[in-house]
């Protein structure tokens, strides 16, 4: 059977259940495409071909057995291949985090999010490229080379989950896990024409995710459509004793059902339509909002007055947390060691040699912001302004059900475009950072293409634990549009 890679995760699972396709065929189809296209795209850093085929064969056996015995409950995602961002631990596979410092690190344990998917029967195809320790918006900060955007290989796929995004867009995986600390799922989803879900803080366990900014880090999904993202969320979410921020009971929020969005109120924040937003992206996003209105929703202007402070708040809090989290890389228990006679010198040389420029920069900013004499002015003030940003969202969600806005100021930029100025790169995340600061869920869907054929992302934000609401709105949108069905010509 040809074209197996064209099936969505949902379609592939239906085919597997019906016995029309086998997991081995499906897995092999993806492995062949990876072999063909990954050398150019560099979406995967590690391909687990052998263990994937073994897992696929085991899944096929389970299907055959269930068919013979006519029944028995099968795991929800049995035989479905997935890709995993290289900041999540999968036992026995490397977890480089895109860093030299973890070049030879092979964790002996598996992240809870991945373990739940494995328990539900998925087949892990491999680990995908990322900006070093998820710090970046382009994968250009990976120590293992940039990932190329399948829509235009001279451009970045976005980041930090750029490898996962490129893999799903290029049909080198049906679906992939990413992580989102400041936009790292939504921005690459926008750049690659995908559906990207950043989950509510507390919804998915971060156990086994190499920590970057612990009050911001979330695990998310890159998928071809909202239905596929929903399948993954359903399995990997929920309370985990290993991550005390996960919640036991997720509040059940109202959500639209089916094609109609009648009664849904959408807030359109004026602070997200500012100078610097490209006209083509703005048009695409506004057209997307009109489409939602055509389905019965009502769009109203809203204001999130502290939006302009999100970037400075983020670039204090995230580096501060990163400087603490990354203190563990000291050349003692794992990772690179530069041998020295003196212990402190060993720490300094190992870290100096193992970390790349952006990671060093953020560790330096964070260490400074937390240092004696500066803590109150920087970190303390940032935590207060963060409370104001959170309050903005709380106020708006008293009036509307979701927010709709652009995901990014522009479509995918060229590799090297922001090479010399870190601040310029930081501005790429200006529309995605606020959701992480407030802990609310966000979803990006493809809402069209610009004049150069590059995808435009429409971002939706919801109140805490409205993940399913966002997915339902996106699903309704994707029933009447076909942007999400388009793929790049490779």
């Amino acid at each position: 059977m040809s074209g197996l890679h064209e099936l969505s995760a949902k379609q592939a699972l239906a085919g597997l259940r019906a016995g029309k396709i086998s997991s081995v065929e499906l897995t092999r189809a993806y492995l062949e495409r990876i072999e063909q296209h990954n050398p150019r795209l560099n979406a995967y850093l590690y391909v687990s071909a052998e263990s994937a085929l073994q897992a696929a064969a085991a899944a096929d056996k389970q299907y055959a057995k269930a068919r013979r015995s006519k029944g028995g409950k099968l795991p929800a995602l049995l035989g479905l291949p997935i890709a995993v961002k290289d900041v999540l631990a999968v036992a026995g596979m490397p977890a480089t985090c895109g860093s030299r410092i973890l070049e030879n690190f092979v964790p002996s344990y598996t992240a809870t999010s991945v373990q739940r998917l494995l328990d539900a029967g998925v087949v892990v195809l491999g680990k995908t490229n990322t900006d070093e320790f998820a710090m970046g918006s382009s994968t250009e900060n990976s120590a293992y080379g940039v990932t190329r955007n399948p829509w235009d290989e001279t451009r970045v796929p976005g980041g930090s989950s750029g490898g996962s995004a490129a893999a799903v867009a290029a049909r080198l995986a049906p679906v992939a896990l990413g992580t989102d600390t400041g936009g790292s799922v939504r921005q690459p989803a926008a750049f690659c024409g995908l559906t990207g879900l950043k989950t509510t803080y507390g919804r998915v366990s971060r156990y086994g995710l190499v920590a970057f900014g612990s009050s911001l880090d979330t695990v998310g999904v890159l998928a071809r459509d909202a239905a596929d993202a929903g399948l993954i969320l359903k399995v990997m979410g929920g309370y985990d004793p290993q991550d005390a921020t996960t919640v036991e009971k997720t509040p059940k929020l109202e959500k639209p059902s089916g094609r109609s969005l009648k009664g849904l109120k959408i807030g359109v924040p004026k602070e997200y339509f500012i100078e610097g937003l490209s006209a083509e992206v703005e048009n695409g996003v506004r057209e997307g909002i009109r489409q939602l209105e055509a389905l019965g929703a009502k769009a109203v202007p809203v204001s999130l007055p502290h939006t302009e402070y999100a970037l400075p708040v983020y670039y204090i809090i995230a580096p501060a947390e990163a400087s603490a989290n990354l203190a563990r890389f000291d050349g003692v228990r794992y990772g690179l060691r530069v041998v020295q006679d003196d212990l402190i010198e060993m720490f300094k040389r190992s870290r100096g040699a193992g970390f790349g420029p952006e990671v060093k920069r953020r560790i330096m900013i964070g260490s400074y912001a937390l240092s004696a004499g500066y803590y109150d002015a920087y970190y303390g003030q940032a935590q207060k302004v963060r409370a104001l940003i959170r309050r903005d969202f709380d106020n708006v969600f008293k009036k509307v059900d979701i927010i709709a806005a652009p995901s990014t100021p522009s479509t995918a930029f060229r590799i090297g475009a922001h090479g010399n100025d870190p601040l310029e790169m930081y501005l790429e995340d200006v529309f995605t950072l606020p959701a992480n600061l407030a802990g609310v869920p966000g979803l990006c869907v493809c809402a069209g293409f610009d004049g150069q054929g590059l995808p435009i992302g429409l971002q939706m934000l919801g109140p805490h634990f409205a993940d399913e609401r966002l997915l339902a709105v996106a699903a309704a949108y994707q029933k009447v549009t076909d942007w999400h069905k388009q793929g790049p010509a490779l």
Binding site: V106, P107, S108, Y109, Y201, G202, S215, A244, T245, T246, V247, E248, K249, E308, Y309, L311, P312, V313, Y315, I316, A327, D330, G331, V332, R333, Y334, G335, L336, R337, Q340, D341, L343, E345, M346, F347, K348, R349, R351, G352, K360, R361, I363, M364, I365, S367, S371, Y378, Q381, A382, Q383, K384, V385, A387, L388, R390, P422, L423, G439, H464, F465
Partner: protein
């Protein structure tokens, strides 16, 4: 505020980062620009705003304090740059070490 070379060296020591002379200069410049940008936060009067300590909406629950299976020592040591006698090996910490 512009960071001096001494500032950069002090921060690098706090962060346990060895930097080359070229890096010190570059990061001094870049960090100064970033700090200038985040200085925007000082515009806001936050006297009456409580600092946000946690963004967890629901009250989190501690797990029961019960012993559970731990990771295997051999697995953990397998990733160590240097290990001996079931321990991580590091350069001498105290004077008069081997």
């Amino acid at each position: 505020m512009r960071l001096t070379k001494e500032d950069v060296e002090h921060i690098a020591l706090l962060a346990r980062l060895h930097l080359s002379e070229e890096e010190k200069e570059r990061y001094g410049e870049q960090l100064s620009n970033i700090l200038e940008h985040v200085g925007k936060l000082q515009e806001l009067d936050t006297t009456d705003v409580p600092a946000m300590a946690s963004i967890v909406v629901e009250r989190s629950r501690l797990r029961p304090d019960e012993p559970a299976a731990a990771m295997l020592r051999a697995d953990l040591l397998a990733n160590a740059p240097e290990a001996s006698d079931e321990q991580f090996k590091v350069p001498p910490v105290l004077d008069g070490g081997p």
